[in-house]
């Protein structure tokens, strides 16, 4: 962790400290709407970081991360709904279930040498399978969804995630920052270097004695567990869960956009990506309303165009380019 700090040029440290201070103080000056956007940014920075560990560092393309977020959210929400077990405890159950699914998918994929697009389709298959199963299960609310009641007497029970936007703002901030620190630490650890070796050339990694199977399994376990925590956060923030949203491939795509746009395999990439994409979506909504284009889908069309433009013009992501612009590259990363 300290290596992230020590490798950073002075200018980078100053910018980072100022930004962190601004974000910590920001809720004092912002209205609810802007706070809700920041909560989304933190959420996507967090789950993006989780996905980034698996794809950006270990090189395993998962297009089914909605599965882990959905499972985490559903397990914690169901425990709360039926047994009154709070999310601070339920999160462990959610993480365990999601990591178990991650282990099965990882084991199948890595044991049987399913790679690249094929591995991605394996992850999609599991997510879609689970979506349809949840659609047809009664105790999860089925396709009609699962709703967490608003109970006024519980308002302010922050340990049960029963609080207002400020609670989710600071929790989201802490999660996004924590995920970045964890990634920075892992990236400089033994397993982090093993991931890079496996990502760049698995045969070469094997030949120098790296247990590639173990390295990839650790990546999928950490990534699925982290994503599940994000799912619990989202479930208790929105207080509702629908299989058609929670496990949808569209949700999986949302999760992976921030790190890809920001810069894969970098620590600040998912954060930068989330800070660009989420406000972009909001601006597009405002813009289409201003222009009087009321047709549904107008915002998403611009979104799609932006995606294509970014991947054509800046395929490595925004962060490596931004870093050069800001002059933060003197000392390595």
């Amino acid at each position: 962790m300290s290596s992230l700090w020590s490798a950073m040029p002075v200018r980078g440290r100053v910018i980072l400290l100022v930004l962190v201070a601004l974000l910590l103080a920001a809720p004092l000056a912002l209205d609810r709407y802007v706070i809700s956007i920041f909560i989304l940014i933190f959420y996507f920075a967090y789950v993006g970081q989780a996905w980034n560990l698996m794809m950006g560092f270990a090189g395993q393309l998962s297009l089914g991360h909605a599965l882990y977020a959905g499972l985490g959210g559903y397990v914690a929400a169901l425990l709360w709904f039926y047994f009154g077990i709070g999310p601070w405890l339920g999160v462990f159950a959610g993480v365990a279930v999601a990591a178990a699914f991650g282990a099965v998918i990882g084991w199948l994929g890595f044991r049987f040498g399913i790679q690249g697009v094929y591995f991605a389709l394996l992850t999609i298959a599991f997510a879609e399978f689970t979506r349809i199963a949840f659609d047809n299960m009664a105790f999860t609310g089925g396709a009609g969804g699962l709703f967490l009641m608003y109970e006024p007497q519980r308002a302010g029970e922050w340990w049960n995630l029963r609080g207002g936007p400020l609670l989710f703002y600071y929790l989201g901030f802490a999660m996004a920052a924590g995920a970045a620190l964890l990634t920075a630490w892992l990236a400089r650890s033994r397993i982090g270097y093993q991931w890079l070796a496996v990502r760049e050339d698995e045969q070469a990694a094997l030949s120098v004695g790296i247990n590639a199977f173990r390295a990839k399994m650790i990546a999928v376990l950490i990534s699925s567990a982290m994503t599940a925590v994000g799912g619990v956060f989202a479930a208790f923030y929105y207080n509702s869960l629908f299989p058609a949203q929670a496990f949808d491939i569209g949700r999986s795509i949302e999760i992976i956009l921030a790190p890809i746009i920001g810069g894969l395999g970098t620590i600040f990439g998912p954060i930068v990506g989330a800070f660009i994409l989420t406000p972009l979506g909001e601006i597009l909504i405002a813009l289409t309303e201003k222009l009087g284009i009321n047709a549904p889908g107008a915002k998403a069309v611009f979104y799609g165009l932006t995606l294509c433009a970014i991947i054509v013009l800046r395929p490595d992501g925004i962060w490596p380019w931004l870093k050069r612009i800001l002059g933060l590259t003197e000392q390595g990363r």
Partner: protein, 289 residues
């Protein structure tokens, strides 16, 4: 009597599956030759469905007829798309191709949503409720026409790859890219041609699909996943595999809808996909890579 009902369901599945197979054939050609993950495949199928719907509503053209102009236009679109945009992404990492095509898919689906709205557009064909009766088995006329159309288009594609110089050149690119470049084939142009062919297939399949389903933007993503599932089950690079996989998925969907619930029909396709990936990664009819 029950056997007749099951036979009914299976035959419906086979006929639908042949159209699925044609759609997957387009993906198989693109995926197998250009090695680009066309994640906008189902979206193109739905565009073709809307085009067919419009041609039927305005000019009264039957889907079997409008299939041809749509396939030709789609060929042109595919050629241009590959030549101007996607060729730059050939050989780049999969996630970059994925983002590009997801971007294109998002534009297509939401463009359709803007133009046509979210409601399904049924094309009410005159023969939609007519059927043939053989013994106790009813067979929808519309599906029979669609299946015949799918077989004809697929056969034309088989013949093209087998007997024409361009088809042989494209197969050469798929088998040995370096070798193909060394003997002087214009790989970029052939890739554009291949992507055009793939889209022509999906355009034709979309036109035929109108006889089976109502055009709606929500079908797009399901079709994309369906096409990938079929291609992998059938075996990458095997054209016959795409058709066999299509029929297999068509039947499994029909049986699952009948015995369980229509909403659960694709569960079995995904289970089958996982089984094939694990047990027979080259697909049912593919060669070992």
């Amino acid at each position: 009597m029950t056997i007749a009902i099951i036979l009914n369901v299976v035959i419906q599945g086979v006929l639908t599956g042949l159209v699925y197979g044609l759609m997957a054939l387009g993906l198989s050609v693109i995926f197998g030759v250009v090695r680009v993950v066309n994640f906008a495949h189902g979206e193109f199928a739905v565009v073709a469905m809307y085009a067919t719907y419009l041609l039927f509503v305005t000019l009264g053209l039957d889907p079997i007829v409008s299939l041809f102009p749509i396939a030709i236009v789609f060929f042109g679109v595919g050629y241009l798309l590959q030549a101007t945009l996607i060729n730059r992404f050939v050989g780049r990492s999969e996630h970059e191709q994925f983002i590009l095509l997801v971007g294109i898919a998002i534009i297509i689906v939401n463009g359709l949503l803007m133009i046509f709205g979210p409601d399904a557009r049924p094309a009410n064909l005159p023969y939609a409720i007519e059927s043939y009766m053989i013994g106790d088995v009813f067979i929808d006329k519309a599906r029979v026409y669609a299946a015949i159309g799918a077989i004809v288009v697929s056969s034309a594609l088989f013949a093209f790859f087998r007997y024409t110089a361009t088809g042989t050149a494209i197969r050469a690119c798929a088998d040995n890219l370096t070798g193909a470049a060394v003997v002087g084939l214009n790989v970029k142009r052939l890739y554009a041609f291949t992507f055009g062919l793939g889209l022509a297939c999906v355009g034709a399949a979309g036109a035929l699909m109108v006889t089976i389903a109502d055009a709606s933007p929500t079908l797009a993503q399901a079709f994309t996943l369906l096409a990938f599932t079929i291609v992998i089950i059938g075996g990458l690079g095997s054209m016959a595999g795409a058709l066999v996989g299509g029929v297999l998925i068509g039947v499994s969907e029909a049986l699952a809808s009948f015995f369980l619930a229509p909403s659960m029909k694709s569960m079995f396709s995904f289970a089958l996909l996982v089984a094939v990936l694990v047990l027979r990664p080259q697909g049912l009819m593919g060669r070992r890579a």
